[in-house]
Symmetry: D2
Subunit: 314 residues, 4 copies
């Protein structure tokens, strides 16, 4: 009788996710949670003041973890962007010392609420943090999903589309593995104008390395320009949530647990009401497979490190 979504962390990302949910009518009940009570109450009131002018209605609850017990989806947008702002390295692991603890704490509260829906993680570094959320909540691995390279793939599509002057939705293919610096565009998977892009690139002199750089660094361009990124990640997260609610069984490159690599990392999967319902097996090139393995190792090390030191997992 309801689509109930919780959003935890009402910074620039979480509040934009909530705005898109409210203005687009993606939920019937929305639970907003933040440690800054003044901020989250201000956002909630602002949304409620919007509703007389919206075609759809959303009921909003604030800072009540017990409301998550019957939520369908919880989205974690916890973060501390100041750590990124203070740092010139363009490395999402800068936030890790903070977010690993914050995520473990939040995950504990989610678990205590009795939540047993699908948990969507935006918090960076997303793959390691998704692991933490899964470990602490004890939810099935296929019920905990990171937005991962769904965002980077859309940046790659934007870059390719702009170069060819076409709709980004008419570009297919994926950025893989880490929503972070070891990520890469798997060019062998990218198709456009009815052809593999590698073929087009050869013929028409398109510089794929430049597009790859553009996709990987796009987030930092936005970040340096305004001190945060929010619109693209909100679209990615809400699309993922909607696919789950619809049980659409859509193929999306999101961070999911790959047994054979022993890690959460971004790889296309079929997503539905039961979370990750099928995992794809791409025919990658040897070079792409090497990158994949290296990246999985890095993510795993980070996760193991944090597991040892910063949060308790039975």
């Amino acid at each position: 009788m309801t689509r109930k979504i919780g959003v935890i962390g009402m910074g620039s990302v979480g509040s934009t996710v909530a705005h898109y949910i409210v203005s687009g009518g993606f939920a019937d009940d929305l639970v907003l949670i933040d440690v800054n009570e003044k901020k989250v109450k201000a956002d909630a009131l602002d949304f409620e003041d919007a509703m007389a002018n919206l075609p759809t209605h959303t009921n909003i609850a604030v800072n009540d973890y017990s409301e998550l017990a019957d939520a369908d989806i919880v989205i974690s947008a916890v973060g501390k962007l100041q750590l990124q702002r203070d740092n010139p390295s363009n490395d999402r692991f800068i936030e890790y010392p903070f977010t690993q603890k914050a995520a473990a704490a939040v995950a504990g509260k989610i678990k205590d609420s009795g939540f047993n829906g699908i948990l969507i993680v935006i918090t960076n570094p997303v793959d390691a943090i998704t692991s933490i959320y899964q470990a602490v909540t004890g939810l099935p691995k296929n019920h905990v999903i990171g937005t991962g390279t769904l965002l980077d793939s859309s940046r790659m599509k934007r870059a390719v589309a702009k170069k060819l002057h076409i709709d980004p939705r008419s570009v297919s293919g994926y950025n893989l593995v880490e929503h972070g610096n070891s990520q890469f565009t798997a060019w062998s998977t990218v198709r456009v104008l009815g052809k593999p892009i590698t073929e087009l690139a050869d013929k028409e002199g398109i510089d794929l390395d430049k597009i790859d750089e553009d996709a990987r660094m796009g987030g930092f361009v936005v970040f340096r320009g305004k001190g945060y990124t929010n619109y693209a990640i909100a679209s990615a997260a809400v699309r993922l949530a909607d696919v789950v609610l619809n049980d659409a069984r859509t193929e999306l490159p999101v961070s999911n647990y790959r047994e054979e690599l022993g890690a959460y990392l971004s790889y296309p999967a079929i997503v539905g009401r039961d979370g990750i319902v099928q995992q794809l097996q791409l025919d990658l090139t040897d070079e792409e497979l090497d990158k994949l393995q290296n990246c999985a190792t890095i993510i795993n090390e980070k996760f193991e490190e944090s597991k040892a030191k910063d949060f308790a997992v039975e």
Copy 2:
């Protein structure tokens, strides 16, 4: 063949307006303008990075006034919130020394672009600034509209609806005159549950003064909680724009020029593709009429003052 909207001023309000336009598919072409080029380019890129995950497509141009020549609607969200943040007085005229000059300058550029669509003004103090925009652009008075108390009316509806535990869209009635401190809820116009609210209030002991205060101060509660207000005003502005594009001829309490009062102020009007297409004549109480006249005088003085000193109108 197109719905083309320009948004000028990409602060917290303007960028949220733009986000709602992009995510809701309210325009085909969008022109974003801001003096902070890094910020507006970051927002534009962020929107483009969202598009692979959106059901609708929007073409975006940045910082090019000439693009406004064939725009259908321009929305002014120019402002300097720091002035509000530095000031404890809850008075929107705090921004006036800055915004009157900024608006006159922007209006000049809009005029030079050849724009001849509908101009929607959010910039505060909205009634005086709407006058300035009209005077400088020379657009017909019914083609320049301030969002005015459309926002305050939705805050009043939220407050009434919460008290009665009903949908804010099931409350009718208006806040009038100034989107500022002299505004008031015209309780004689408010109806709910099939009755005038004044009748219900008497019977069931509902404190209308408290609700009025809540509506008038709601924006400042949000403002003090997060340093800006954006979601409710974005819904109001985009709804107004959409009503114009649809030629829906919807009744909305917005800031429009009332000949008999010689001022822009908020009063319900029928809004369509030709802007303000009809003005209502409410049966207000004497007390309400007094408030209306006083408020018109205040707005007019402010406008005349700025006209004399701060911008050139032939």
Copy 3:
């Protein structure tokens, strides 16, 4: 985790309801039921063939009552329009001999499925049929709702709006009691341009009787023109369903059980997830109250008659 809607009766109304649900994304799971298996399967396949070109996904099940067990809403669009087509009397009771039996049979199957959500009835004569559905299913009275004069009110709004050249959504007020020939526009409730319409009508010579006739006969004009009516009723029914799913607590003139009149009839109520959550008490004129009472009597007699003869209620 889901919005699940069942539609029973896939004639011109039911299939249009289903189309609006699918194309507008109002449900995640949709159950379509009709005695004409070829027809309902053809519609289901047609919807599935649409989905690659839609922004939203809907899962469809066909002719399986057991799927209703966990549905949130069931919409009854059962009917036999041929009875109307063969008859020049413009009387919705023409269908009653057929629909009372059909409704009782369908209601029995709904009950057997274990359904315990909100039941929305479109089938005509809607007030009497809503009574039958409630009696046979044994669902709480506030969980069985007829679309009633929500449709007639929108026809009245269209007629008023056209006369005044404004948006029908800017007309407030209700048609009451029976979605049938004894219905009437309660002009004392209709407001437009900030005034009671009775006041405007006097001043500007608007003929309310003509508009009333237009609203009451509008459906038959459409019916005679194409042999059925479907678009307006589909909008009304889906809006009602969405208000329930959103728990929006919206005021709507729908057929609900009025204890003091002992009958289902259309009268504005607040509608939310728990069905009818509050009933309005209008200040009607004496003439309107007389009409209300007469109509309630007629509806009740019809229902009692059918109860005695055509279906078994313990």
Copy 4:
């Protein structure tokens, strides 16, 4: 300032197209035209009666060709389904003797109106009829587009998706050439689960011929089940129209004029505000190229035949 769409032919397809436009808010102004004036007026009134319950407003004009002068898009849904119903052959050319004349007549009136937007043709046999519309109106070839195999491709995607239990939007690839019996799925273009479907089919024993048959015959299954098909074609046509209005530059398999084949036939193209803005060059197999050439020849012969006999082209 407007998105204005004309729909000509208000049978089961045209009226469903119009309903999707109205309920989805895809146009601001809508012009409905049909030789059966009672029917088109009934539909228009039915839409207007819906509007009080819709979130969006659409202005409707009826049977006035002069309204097309400034329309952005005209959609031809002219047809005579009775010819199909009377005929067991599953051949869309059954309608040709009627539709070629009707299309030529309508095209003449469109031309006389001064229309110079994008013309979208649904009328069957769609490729030959699109040729006629282009020839008679004299519009640029890239401004006249048939829905073609956009529909058949979505049927193919549905069939593939159902087999694999995934979202049809996660299947890419095309049905080509004729929206008719000589069409075929170009399996070399179909990809799913990150692989060419031909590879998956081999491994997992998926019978592509069966899916191809299912896609090609899907329309007739629906047709035999209810006497018409409307929902899937409406989604395809409105999506195409929206892509044009948005200037989205989306890749779609639609009927467009291929110079090298001298015919209108379905082949993927990039579609935007200027109609067909780029044509793809697929790497088809030799077998697929043969089918393509044969089909082009058939379409051309039909068109030339009708050109000689049934309508005057200078």
